[in-house]
Amino acid sequence: MSDRLVTAGLPLRSRLLVGSAGYPNQQVMLDSIAASGAEVVTVAIRRISLQGYSESLIDVLGSDIRLLPNTAGCSTARDAVLTAKLARDALETSWIKLEVIGDRESLYPDVEEMLKAAAELVTDGFIVLPYCNDDPVTCRKLADLGCATVMPLGAPIGSGQGIRNPGAIETICARSSVPVILDAGVGTASDAAFAMELGCAGVLLNTAIAKSRSPVVMAAAMRAAVDAGYGARKAGRIPKRDYAEPSSPQMGLIGS
């Protein structure tokens, strides 16, 4: 219990949070989510198609999954706040992954609008988990506003580049008063493990699982990687040395 990621007072089953987008089909999505062990699964909020619509994601995902709606695609605080409020009514949750995008190509957050939206949502009683820049100052401001976590990007969304600025992530983790969840950029399991070794409390990813050749296998790998990275962080890596240091005993060598 004490070893769990606690978000807004709630201990989560897993330090890995996953998205629900981009899987080859619904069954692979469900099997991947199960294999990942994630309790928190992100969803988008979109206009309903009035030409008839398919099975609801809520019913498909089941009650042991905690849905985390996002404000993906919003580029102003106003749109993000309305989307969050719609999500709260639709899903009966006050949790929101706040995304306010400032640039369509890089999908980098618009810090000014994000801070504005975060302030408004926190005041309105939302549990705000913002997708943000890998910038310690922005992260501190978000935490000071009352966000439940900060979720700095490792690399651009969907890029699979891993963690482009490990030093920044490490600094954010060292100073943050709220849990740091690495969001975006993870390409493979070692990236997720690395995020945990840098001190992250969790990892949120989607594309790295959904677009891999075998999403279910990758989901299990990510789960193991997050556990491994977390364990390694707790245990503490050995200091790096410039030269070799024999690990076998030096005495009793034959021929000496």
């Binding site: 998205g19 899987y23 909020i45 019913d59 709606p69 999500a87 009514d89 639709a90 969907g158």
Partner: protein, 69 residues
């Protein structure tokens, strides 16, 4: 009663006076989980749907969760 409104970004003429009637007229089951409605930039809570009256020109958004990251 017929009204011209903006529904999910498109101008539509609808036969509905309230949000519940609008949902039924557009084939969305109002009892279905996961649906939310905003009118003129404000969320209309589910419990207010039956009596919330729509005016001509109302800007209406009907949303639901979808796969996302």
């Amino acid at each position: 009663m017929s009204l011209t409104v903006r529904l999910n970004g498109k101008s539509e003429t609808i036969e509905a006076a309230t949000v519940t009637e609008l949902l039924m007229a557009t084939g969305v089951d109002p009892a279905r989980r996961g649906v939310a409605v905003a009118v003129n930039g404000e969320v209309v809570p589910r419990k207010s749907w039956p009596e919330f009256r729509l005016n001509p020109g109302a800007d209406i958004e009907i949303v639901r969760p979808l796969q996302g990251g």
